[in-house]
């Protein structure tokens, strides 16, 4: 048996860890320097805390010699309008509103005077620009506060000079610098030109506000794109239209990894509206999740003057596929194989601590159970798409709703063998992300097709394309064993995890178990072991990678243990958590059992844990820590004799430090509960002979409004650094519901989706 290398942060996909390391290693760019804004309405102030020669050059190349580049965070215009740049992709997680709010708070801007724009992609200015890992808030918090504070300090200095008073006599409020003693007020716009002449202070030297003085952060602020959304403005990747643009559809093999050999291209090309059709060779290993890889599926590209013409042609296309190297995966066979592996000697030991065998030998009783969860698709409502234009001068322009724009540029440059500087990518709003748009396979496809036809092209995947070639959340299996001592305490824990492998030695992307996964992290005696089933299926991060499935299995099993010990689940879970301690003190990405216990108690209290309920109704509790967020949830459900399930309410208690946008945070929590329930209830992608058996929402039934539970959200007011909320609310949802089902009807759910065990809504 071999020891597996320990990941730095088990909740971060590996590529994200690389990105973080890369960002940390970026050369220190000058923190001094500002650019006078002479081309925009007569002067103004732009600040980016990494503005330097690179920014200046970009600025001059971007809009003309005298104009600032759109590559800073703050722009104060003479007319009082403040433009704040949001650097990371927006896919529904709310960062386009939340990030600028952080700047505006320290700037003391009037939010109604703020205009938010999506920034350009520029690593020198912004570092890594990624929507993933719930990382935008924690990595941006300090730098964005300082960006706002620097701007405010300079405006105050400009006001002091204008009013000929000492800066200490001035205060700021809602876009004004105010001299209290005389009652004089100067708007930020009036001060912009003068502020632009001042030296930029060291960002580390400017004072930041106390939390008690926050005016904007923690309030409910409606999303900055909401007006455009409700009026149907072109916002999303798929809405992009450029002059001369062609429409393309890409027909891929039914079996994942098959190659197109030939097709009736002539017949298809004769169809109305069709301009071209050609085979596309496979390039690289597109089934391996890799955001910057210039890899492509084999298939047939059809180019037409409209989407409908392309789709009609795709319907008539007949392709001969070579399936020799294609996936032959079968989910039903994998389930059998997992049972066989779990019963045998594990292939790898992930971690072992304490005296596991001794604890089992001394156990008053033991509990064992086998848990199964399926592959699931991302099913972003906006299917994968990209508009690309490989121009005659060798440059490339891309319009894409990607979560990893910089990786898309890298991949494009590698594909075409050109300098990344020749690639411009416009980041457009994504109609859902959930991790699918961390991969840029549709970007590479669009670029390759544009290159071939020499024209701008929009590649749109159909729903079927999107569901049948995804980087799926991998299915998995856990064979658990627990030892309970004479006091009914959890004395030892063992998990034989059965996952999938592409290379025969390491788990597939997002299919790994952390060596310190809870509760192994807090117990004296624990062993985590692993076996793997070979696969050729593509897998990758799906909202709260790893956690989204592991929490279901572990938190359900811990409830089984509590029941077996005859203990109250709340009391049992708090006991497992143990003494208040921070496993790695100072590391927000490390479990803090004090924060955990607080949210567990809070969720239980708010949900009325322990109250009497009528027969058929029950409460279920679950906790999970991921993405630096501590979340406990209590579900209240009813189950009737025909296993008709109603989830009445889910109470969420979380600690992610100070809340940036309360409305956005609550929205993420509500959505995560519905996503978690939707997925647990009825979603799975099964495979037979390498083919996904589901292709559209008729057989991949997302939850609908009539079945949405009430969601009550409570955030602990803590002073730990603020962290993200796109992901950590989701993992406890499924186990809280499954534990509530047990409480309601005595049935233990060990296989997802719930419909597999006969439940329906």
């Amino acid at each position: 048996m071999q020891k597996r290398p320990i990941p730095v942060d088990p909740y971060l996909p590996e590529f994200m860890q690389e990105e973080m390391a890369r960002a940390a290693a970026l050369p220190h760019v000058s923190r001094r320097g500002f650019i006078k804004l002479s081309g925009v309405v007569g002067g103004g102030l732009v600040l980016g805390f990494t503005l330097g020669p690179v920014a200046r050059a970009a600025a001059q190349g971007g809009r003309g010699a005298d104009v600032f580049a759109p590559n800073a965070y703050v722009q104060v215009r003479p007319d009082g309008v403040i433009i704040l740049y949001a650097k990371n992709p927006e896919v529904g997680q709310g960062v386009k509103t939340a990030l600028p709010m952080i700047v505006a708070e320290e700037l003391d801007a009037d939010w109604s005077q703020v205009r938010v724009e999506q920034s350009a992609i520029n690593e020198a200015l912004y570092g890594r620009q990624v929507a993933g890992g719930s990382r935008s808030i924690p990595t941006s918090w300090e730098p964005l506060r300082r960006a706002g504070a620097v701007a405010r300090a300079m405006l105050v200095r400009a006001a002091a000079e204008t009013l000929e008073v000492d800066a200490s006599e001035l205060v700021t409020e809602a876009g004004y610098v105010i001299h209290r003693a005389s009652g004089r007020r100067l708007g930020y716009g009036e001060l912009a030109a003068r502020a632009a002449e001042l030296p930029v202070p060291d960002p580390a030297s400017v004072p930041l506000k106390d939390r008690k003085d926050f005016r904007l952060l923690g309030r409910r602020i409606t999303g900055v794109d909401n007006r455009a959304i409700v009026t149907g403005k072109p916002l999303f990747g798929i809405d992009q239209r450029i002059p001369g643009m062609r429409y393309a559809t890409f027909v891929k093999a039914p079996a994942i990894g098959a190659r197109a050999v030939s097709a009736n291209l002539g017949e298809v090309k004769d169809m109305r509206g069709v301009e071209d059709a050609f085979l596309v060779e496979a390039r690289g290993a597109v089934v391996e999740f890799s955001p910057a890889a210039p890899s492509m599926l084999s298939g047939v590209a059809i180019i037409a003057d409209s989407t409908w013409a392309a789709l009609q042609a795709a319907g008539k296309l007949k392709v001969e596929w070579d399936e020799r190297d294609a996936s032959k995966d079968s989910w039903s066979q994998a389930v059998e194989e997992a049972r066989r592996l779990a019963a045998g000697r594990p292939q790898q030991v992930l971690s072992e601590k304490g005296d596991v065998e001794g604890a089992f030998a001394r156990a008053e009783r033991t509990v064992d159970a086998f848990y199964t969860y399926p592959f699931v698709a991302h099913a972003d409502l906006e299917p994968q798409n990209c508009t690309a234009w490989c121009k005659d001068d060798g440059s490339v322009e891309i319009w894409a709703p990607t979560q990893t724009p910089q990786s898309a540029i890298e991949g494009t440059a590698a594909l075409l063998g050109i300098d990344p500087g020749k690639v411009t990518l416009h980041q457009l709003r994504g109609g859902g992300g959930f991790g699918r748009r961390l991969a840029n396979d549709s970007v590479i496809q669009a670029v390759a097709i544009s290159k071939r036809i020499g024209a701008p092209v929009k590649v749109q995947w159909t729903r079927e394309d999107d569901m049948q070639f995804d980087y799926y959340r991998p299915g998995g299996f856990h064979s658990f064993r627990a030892a309970l001592d004479s006091e009914g305490r959890l004395a030892a824990f063992e998990d034989h995890f059965v996952t999938f492998t592409r290379d025969g030695s390491t788990p597939v992307a997002s299919g790994s178990l952390a060596e310190n996964e809870f509760p192994a992290s807090v117990l004296p005696n624990a062993r985590l072991v692993q076996s793997m089933i070979p696969t050729k299926l593509p897998t990758g991060p799906w909202r709260a990678p790893g956690s989204n499935a592991i929490a279901f299995a572990i938190q359900s099993f811990l409830h089984e243990c509590a029941v077996a010990a005859g203990r109250d689940h709340l009391e049992f879970l708090l006991e497992v958590m143990g003494e208040p301690r921070w496993l790695t003190p100072g590391d927000l990405w490390s479990l803090n059992t004090e924060r955990a216990a607080r949210v567990i108690r809070l969720a239980a209290e708010k949900a009325g844990w322990g109250r009497e309920l009528p027969p058929g109704r029950g409460l279920g509790l679950a906790f999970h820590f991921s993405h630096a967020g501590h979340f406990a949830e209590v579900a209240e459900v009813s189950v009737d004799d025909d296993r008709k399930l109603t989830v009445h309410k889910v109470t969420v208690a979380g600690d992610i430090g100070p809340i940036v946008n309360l409305s956005g945070a609550e929205n993420q929590a509500e959505g995560s509960v519905i996503d978690g329930f939707s997925t647990a209830l009825g979603l799975e992608i099964t495979f037979e002979n390498g083919r996904a058996q589901q292709s559209n929402f008729d057989r991949y039934p997302l939850l609908r409004m009539p079945h949405a539970p009430e969601v009550e959200v409570h955030f602990v007011d803590s002073d730990f650094g603020p962290t993200g909320i796109g992901e950590p609310v989701l993992p406890p949802v499924a186990p809280a519901i499954c534990n509530a089902i047990y409480a309601a009807c005595g049935h233990r759910v060990r296989t997802l989706p719930l419909t597999k065990e006969g439940f329906r809504v």
């Binding site: 909401n226 409700v230 798929i238 109609g431 559209n696 939850l703 609908r704 409004m705």
Partner: protein, 157 residues
Amino acid sequence: MKLEINGKAHELGDIDPSTPLLWVLRDTLGLVGTKYGCGIAQCSACTVHLDGQPVQSCRLPVGSIGNRPVRTIEGLAEDDETLHPVQQAWIDEDVAQCGYCQAGQIMSAVALLERNPRPTDADIDAAMGRHLCRCGTYIRIRKAIHRAAASIAKEGR
């Protein structure tokens, strides 16, 4: 072929009459507010009004429309950009996450309130149950519809 959309007549030339209205709106006319989500009338992101009724435009052949008027999300606000109360309620309740499904949701909500000005939760569920929101904004959609109903009752439209 001619089509009346948002009160304006559009000449479509010799378009293939089997083309779903969705793609005529998006590709031919550039009205991209109406969204493609599934193509099989399962998600309702493509909902528009045909003769005042909410329909899924992804399965509606343009040749079948005739002279019945079409209204899309782009035709809801008034010419002076005053928002429809449903649109305003969506902003006030901060409904959207990604926002992709919301144009379709709003079109159904407007149609619901036109025939039932004070819907109950059950009425809302019945009318909105054919829509999918991948982000899970259903709770806020319900709140926004109640808010819009109250606003219309108070101020009219």
